[in-house]
Symmetry: C2
């Protein structure tokens, strides 16, 4: 992989090499892991370069001409199957975008919904998905204010894809970003890991996997407001979706140029997710969540932050899972139950395609 990750120094700056133009897209480019980062860093980022994009957060935070600060984000949803235990593509589309806004401290206000429908899709399926979007939007307190519908011929799409983009309002003084983790910060997670990915996998059938795991897909903006009321100095929030906890922590370690040390013993993983992962050879730290957040907060506010999370229904299973250190910068280390330490890298390749 050395040639892919290659860099050249140009006019003093470190510029990533462009991707070879005759290579092809593989599923791993959509995993949220190494190949996705590579595509972003070597193709999209150089073309669209600007400070908001460069920040690399879940949503862009933007100053408006007349004052005030907006957050803006987008997410396309291609999950298969469309319905799974605990949710469906509609609930996922609304919650995913609400959560991306909440992770930069924004209050989600408005969503757009862009539908790509495959010819032959049954109207009743679309009605169920739209009803689920309606309920999720009401739960999150956001309005769906603009939409678009396109239809492609039978065989040219897979039933139904939904893009949701979102706008939120960033209250004065909030400056949450993945680049603000500091040595000494405490790392919290709001609950059990891996439920969304395993629930979707179970719904696919074919794997002979019997499990009663339901997806955690839920809007987290209420939880974030409770957290920030108790802990206004929080540095980083992120929802560990594609690529799971391990990938999100690596993104933050790279953005903030810090080391994040996680205690394996402290990680909340439910028995059903653990059993499914053992059976399938997966690591729950790389499985997608859609209703959990990671918070990095100053030591002084850690207790009140944890208490605020645990006092909210969406954060009842919150735990302190680790700590930010100065070095080795850009690394995530896992202290194992037996006292060893290993590097937790970002997801390489693709483990579970089309999970969101």
């Amino acid at each position: 992989m050395d040639d892919r990750a290659g860099k050249v120094t140009m006019q003093g700056a470190v510029c990533p090499l462009p991707l070879p133009h005759d290579e092809t897209i593989i599923l791993g480019h959509g995993s949220g892991g190494k190949l996705t980062h590579d595509l972003v860093r070597r193709l999209f980022a150089p073309a669209f370069d600007n400070p908001a994009l460069r920040a690399g957060d879940d949503a862009a935070a933007l100053d408006l001409p007349a004052g005030g600060r907006l957050a803006l984000c987008t997410d396309s949803h291609i999950v298969t199957p469309l319905f799974f235990p605990g949710g469906d593509i509609g609930r996922l589309a609304v919650c995913g975008t609400v959560n991306d806004l909440a992770m930069v401290g924004a209050r989600p206000l408005f969503l757009t919904a862009g539908f790509i429908l495959e010819e032959g899709l049954v109207i009743g399926v679309l009605q169920r998905v739209v009803e689920s979007m309606r309920l999720a939007a009401a739960e999150a307190g956001v309005l769906i204010v603009a939409g678009d519908t396109k239809v492609v011929e039978r065989g040219k799409a897979d039933g139904l894809f939904i893009n949701t983009s979102g706008v939120g309002w960033v209250p004065e003084g909030r400056r949450l970003s993945g680049n603000r983790a500091e040595p000494g910060d405490v790392v919290l997670v709001s609950g059990a890991l891996g439920e969304h990915g395993i629930a979707v996998l179970t719904a696919r059938g074919g794997l002979q996997l019997e499990s009663d795991v339901t997806s955690d897909v839920a809007p987290l903006n209420g939880l974030v407001e409770s957290l920030l009321a108790a802990c206004p100095q929080a540095h980083v929030l992120r929802d560990p979706t594609r690529g799971g906890l391990a990938t999100s922590l690596n993104e933050i370690a790279a953005q903030s140029e810090v080391c994040i040390v996680i205690e394996e013993e402290a990680l909340p993983v439910g028995p059903a997710v653990e059993a499914a992962c053992e059976l399938l050879g997966f690591d729950p730290l790389y499985i997608a969540n859609e209703g959990k957040l990671i918070a990095m907060v100053p030591q002084a506010e850690a207790e009140s932050a944890l208490h605020a999370l645990q006092s909210h229904p969406r954060g009842a299973g919150a735990r302190r899972i680790g700590r930010v250190e100065a070095s080795p910068a850009g690394r995530v280390l896992l202290r194992t139950r037996i006292g060893g330490t290993r590097v937790l890298d970002v997801l390489a390749g693709e483990m579970l395609p089309r999970i969101c």
Copy 2:
């Protein structure tokens, strides 16, 4: 079609009947015409109902908590082929969203880009598309501030779909909307009709259509600023994309409850588009444009508005094409060259699928 268009009166209000849940999506649901309207009115609108969505304009205009007014819109792009004379899916994705913002009088500021890629797509193709987006964004003066990439398995999408959503700033005092057309308003169009649709069709091959029509795809925000400087009281702007001029005029006639009367003789259609339409049995009034706008302006400002359009490179072919009257409300009438009058209805079914 009577059962599709059926209405029931519920608690005094006229509510559209829901769509039959066992029907299926057909290509016409994505045409921008009758079936798209039906899907929006009977499925999406009742579920997501709110004042911004109800306005039915190209972009939602939204009041911010701290004052000021935003415009927000979304558009998914599924054009085939990806490259066509005068443009490609990337230029289309940027310009389409910039134009939707401009049509409510907003200054486009920020775009998001959501990519759905098919496994096997050649990186070089994606690079060309992204470079084209970069150039179009620079031309329009907007920043692409957030993105998302998903990958689906070979055969589960058609190469590359792009969603672009956009945020614009609505300057104080601008209240453009499709519901503001008034009897006495003059109807202007900024140039020749049908070029985008015919260019894409030509690029498809297989139709033995030889033509040198190039797509008009272009950002119109500069043209709109020139127009509004000369004509601050403009009532309606709209870019006649899917469904063409006839469909856009019908939308406005319905929103404003007015009659729009168009002079066939005044309609600008280039000879190459006219020839292609004659050959294929199409009506250029239903063919998509991606770089033209319709304006409805008070009689008193019509001359200066027309002059402002014609003085701008993107509006050099602008013409006065008709007039708004009081009745029959909701109708678009065409006064033909030979002195007759016929009703111009919205596009029924699908003429050219996957044009944008």
